[in-house]
């Protein structure tokens, strides 16, 4: 890529589709949910049955405006919906209800933080509200691939799910950091929509999907080169790789005197390269026209300000603030962000834990169990309040670190809150001298050789007695107190 960048300037552009997490679809009252029985979350309208009419989801509009505001956009005083027409079986009406000009939000920007902390401003052209398409499953061929299938099955559950499409303006000047910028831009959008609460923001589920436009032009040129659009790159890592691979591919073509075909391309994870899709021209005629069934969306200052007042802090600014407040190292902080537990740590600190303790639990045992069970840490069922309670139980010496880690597992199993679990499972540390003394005496009787070695001055051998005591008390003994009792006995 380095070689390519000596000759060419990279121009990027992104179209990011965000699925909104409303209760119902954008233009129908069917459930907006993932993974249900096919064709059960549908109204007659989602199937395009004759005589049906769309209705506009108020929450979808609010979410679109909020997202526009978070992207520093102008909110259209008046916008409306348009029909984007093309025949494809995943569209129940054979048109997609979308927005032409103006979009609900336009002319914004977002600051993207690169790995070294440098801020890169990406200009936003527009963010418009539209509906998702249904899902096609290809059957009858080998491996369910589209090319050799004999039939396809159509599920319209996703048809009509609200989307906001965020379209960036062309991004010039990223140079060698283009892949890094691509990744950072997509993470920033994900963080913003997550902070706003307008989307589940699960990229692996397709809640956020990115199309990456890449073109090259000779350094010093002012006219953009022909671009390709790599569709549906659905992870921050993949978008960086796809941009890099496309820069290298295009540079090779141009270097050898070839021309770039304007087309859609597909990212292939296995080969880590893009594959040619269908040719796409700017003249693709979708015969957009204003939907006569749907009236205008007219915003006023009161509406916009009510939504603005609801906006969370910008994620980039918030991260800078939190890093200072918590005094984490750069590496520690980056790991926390990458693990996606920033919110949880913040809530835990707010609930009374120290930043260090909060980090220890969320990046440690909770992350480990979550990883083991294939869920994200916040979905494990352990709450910030639980973490605070566990810390308190440790400080009181009611439990030790090892027991505390077991308690986390029990919480994840749905056994209740920490104190309840400690009580129900009798996990409290045994510090009753009577019980401990009996256990120590038993251990000494069973290991006369160890006793002899300790008496001979080998103090490290004490550990060989603590082990059996811990075992006898099921790990609930206060190890410090056991050591004291042993030394008293032998001493």
């Amino acid at each position: 890529m380095k070689k390519a960048l000596q000759t060419y300037e990279v121009v990027l552009g992104f179209e990011v589709h965000v699925e909104l997490n409303t209760e119902t679809k954008m233009f129908s009252t069917a459930t907006n949910a993932f993974g249900d029985q096919p064709n059960s979350n549908v109204t007659a309208g989602d199937l395009g049955l004759p005589g049906t009419l769309p209705t506009i989801n108020a929450v979808g509009i609010d979410y679109g405006i909020k997202l526009g505001l978070a992207l520093n956009c102008t909110i259209a005083p008046e916008s409306r919906f348009a029909r984007k027409q093309y025949f494809y079986p995943d569209l129940g009406k054979n048109y997609q209800t979308s927005q032409e000009e103006p979009a609900i939000a336009y002319d914004g920007w977002v600051d993207v933080e690169l790995d070294d902390g440098e801020i890169f401003r990406v200009e936003i052209e527009r963010a418009h509200i539209e509906e998702d398409a249904g899902k096609l499953t290809h059957i009858g061929g080998a491996g369910g691939r589209i090319h050799d299938s004999s039939s396809s099955l159509v599920d319209y559950n996703r048809a009509g799910v609200p989307l906001v499409e965020i379209v960036s303006k062309p991004i010039v000047g990223a140079g060698g950091r283009a892949p890094e910028l691509a990744r950072a831009y997509l993470s920033t959008i994900r963080d913003i929509v997550k902070a706003l609460g307008v989307s589940d923001a699960r990229m692996e589920r397709g809640n956020i999907r990115c199309d990456a436009n890449v073109s090259l032009m000779p350094i010093g040129a002012t006219e953009f080169g022909t671009r390709t659009e790599t569709k549906n790159v659905n992870s921050t890592r993949a978008v960086a790789a796809a941009v890099e691979s496309e820069i290298i591919r295009q540079a090779k073509v141009l270097d050898s005197g070839g021309t770039i075909t304007q087309e859609t391309r597909h990212w292939e994870e296995e080969s880590r390269s893009t594959r040619s899709g269908r040719p796409k021209s700017d003249a693709d005629d979708y015969r957009y026209f204003p939907d006569p069934d749907l009236g205008p969306i007219v915003t006023d200052a009161a509406w916009i300000e009510r939504l603005r007042a609801d906006l969370p802090e910008n994620p980039v600014q918030r991260r800078r603030r939190l890093r200072e407040e918590w005094q984490f190292s750069d590496t520690e902080f980056r790991d926390v962000v990458a693990a996606g537990v920033l919110d949880e740590i913040e809530y835990t600190i707010t609930a009374g834990a120290s930043p260090e303790a909060a980090r220890k639990w969320w990046m440690g045992e909770i992350a480990r169990i979550a990883n083991e069970r294939g869920v994200s840490p916040e979905a494990l069922g352990v709450t910030p309040a639980d973490v605070v309670e566990i810390e308190k139980l440790i400080a009181d010496k009611t439990i030790n670190d090892k027991i505390a880690r077991q308690v986390v597992g029990h919480i994840a199993d749905g056994e209740g809150r920490p104190a309840d679990i400690v009580a129900a499972r009798s996990l409290a540390v045994v510090s009753d001298d009577g019980a401990l003394t009996a256990a120590v005496e038993e251990a000494m009787a069973a290991n006369p050789d160890v006793v002899e070695r300790i008496q001979g001055g080998h103090m490290q051998a004490v550990g060989a007695l603590i082990g059996p005591v811990m075992k006898a008390t099921k790990g609930q003994a206060d190890a410090g107190r056991v050591r004291e009792i042993i030394l008293e006995k032998i001493g």
Binding site: T55, S151, G277
Partner: protein, 88 residues
């Protein structure tokens, strides 16, 4: 021209349709030309009401059986169609 539009509209034409349309289509388009004041707004709907929004509450869902009741072909609770060759 007629064939291009028929392809865009996804309509198979009989020979007779094609003949009639070849003769009629362009003259109709030409005869429908209007002249309008550019300053006028474009009416989409004669009685537009602003911000007709509904609550975000689930209603009027079909059962899977109802959804598929009119399907020419279905399998496993889904609509079945022949292979898609020009897909993404």
């Amino acid at each position: 021209m007629v064939d291009n539009i028929a392809a865009t509209a996804h309509i198979a034409l009989t020979e007779e349709d094609r003949k009639k349309l070849a003769a009629e289509f362009d003259p109709i388009i030409e005869s429908l030309a209007v002249t309008a004041d550019d300053q006028l707004a474009e009416t989409v709907n004669p009685l537009p009401v602003n911000n007709v929004l509904r609550d975000d509450v689930v209603a009027n869902e079909l059962t899977n059986e109802q959804a598929l009741s009119g399907a020419p072909e279905a399998q496993d609770g889904q609509f079945m169609v022949p292979a898609i060759l020009d897909g993404e």
